[in-house]
Symmetry: C2
Subunit: 332 residues, 2 copies
Amino acid sequence: MSGKTVSLDDAIAYVARVLEANRTSGPNARRVAEALVLAEADGLKGHGLSRLDSYAAQAASGKVDGFAVPSVDRRASAALAVDGANGFAYPAIDLAIDGLAGLAPVTGVAAAGIRRSHHCGAAGHHVERLAQKGLVALLFANTPEAIAPWGGSKAVFGTNPIAFATPVAGELPMVVDLSLSKVARGNIMKAKQEGQPIPEGWALGPDGAPTTDAETALKGTMVAMGDAKGAALALVVEILSAGLTGANFATEATSFFDAEGAPPGTGQLILAFDPRAFGGDGFAARMAALAELIEAQDGTRLPGRRRIANREKARQEGLVLPAAMLEKFGPV
Amino acid sequence: MSGKTVSLDDAIAYVARVLEANRTSGPNARRVAEALVLAEADGLKGHGLSRLDSYAAQAASGKVDGFAVPSVDRRASAALAVDGANGFAYPAIDLAIDGLAGLAPVTGVAAAGIRRSHHCGAAGHHVERLAQKGLVALLFANTPEAIAPWGGSKAVFGTNPIAFATPVAGELPMVVDLSLSKVARGNIMKAKQEGQPIPEGWALGPDGAPTTDAETALKGTMVAMGDAKGAALALVVEILSAGLTGANFATEATSFFDAEGAPPGTGQLILAFDPRAFGGDGFAARMAALAELIEAQDGTRLPGRRRIANREKARQEGLVLPAAMLEKFGPV
């Protein structure tokens, strides 16, 4: 059995039902289901349906509070402090985005810091929503420890994604979404399963020396994209997403995967800018001109465009719910 | 003759005098002189005294308006739109920093977009000043074209620096300052002068193919740090620093070095965050704890610390004004 193909709506309903059966409120289950299914539709499998098993286990064990209701506190006129209340990240991010969408047109720039949060999934989706409202948006998030300070051997920073989106006149938003490790840890886990070596430069062993052995790499640290510069950026993202927000640092955060221990308590910082408050008119048209300069070159691609193509295909053809999932959580 | 060693104050007075003799107002000359001498003292020679020749020539030709008076417009409560008026960048950046230092404690986050600007020099110095006031700060700047979109062959983005600073309890601020090219273009110019090849991965030829020939590289584009991910970040910085601010894109900007043509008109975006508005108390103490996690590891270094050591040494021992400079612009 190779799984079952269903519509996106049916996939969302299925995932929500699984989460509701695992100590999660109806509204939270629905919101998390939408996020996982959209990531899967976009082809971002690491943030998609593959997470359901561990999300459900974490809600069932209470590591994630499936009934959490996030709250927001406006401590300064352009700043929102959001408490994720150790629930899933998505409802807290919604609160941040709704708040920022209201504030930024008045304040020009606004920021929301989210603490007691969790895995933020496909970070590009969150900023994309602000771009759809005509705002330029940035997101910084931290994750459990993965990357060492440059020259060191112990992880202090997460893989710490940065996401960015901007409106583009007459087009879909441009969306950049990248993590600061050279490659995703999943690539190393896959190499280990297959008994293959990994390329030099991906990871360091526990002694801080470069390694091509997948097992040694998994005990060590991930190399930052751009080496020393990327490790410095990982520090910057750690400070913005966890220091500023009052969230747990990478070194304090428990795993996003297993159901053991305290909640991860990681953080996100989201910024929204209203272009009218800075450079004046014509911003979206200039973005279209910039996009054209990129697209006019052979071999290039606007960031985020492959996701959109995947999403469109998934809307038309549906998604596969894997056999193992149906076996574990029951039929659609 | 190998130059003359003078105190930092005497170096500033000398540089200011040279600029005043080249169609620059007294206050602007003084401010630019301070910036160049501080960069030189910090060991950042690419942003230090080596720039005086080209700065003076640009002021003399009128490409930079040495008499420019920047202005600021507060179009939204947390947003400043600064017009650099095609002068040197530093007076415009001062206006932005003074404004942000006043706003951020009220608004929680504030941003200043600077247009019609110029080379911003040692970007870390600007954010460091905000950190000295207890604020967390970010700076994004664009520069004339250098980096192609990933997969392409024509430069669309500058080397686009990112700078960041944070207060640290009981310590000097942590300062990150990096440009998004893998290496500085100066390294390639040096290799060309010495008739040496460059390592693969630094640059692409005009056809978009990797090259180890310095001359071919100088006709082509610089590779971004972190390859595809770094090129995506260069796009993000281009949009924040030039798109949002209404400044010239990299493709529209003239050289920061020669005295020909229209003003570069590049841009900077500076953000200031008041930590009290987000995660609550104890921010600076947590930064000290994070710094300790980094410093406790052999082989690591807190970002910005080497500059501070250089600066201290220069304060005590003075700086060398190069012989060629004294020959061209007269004795101290």
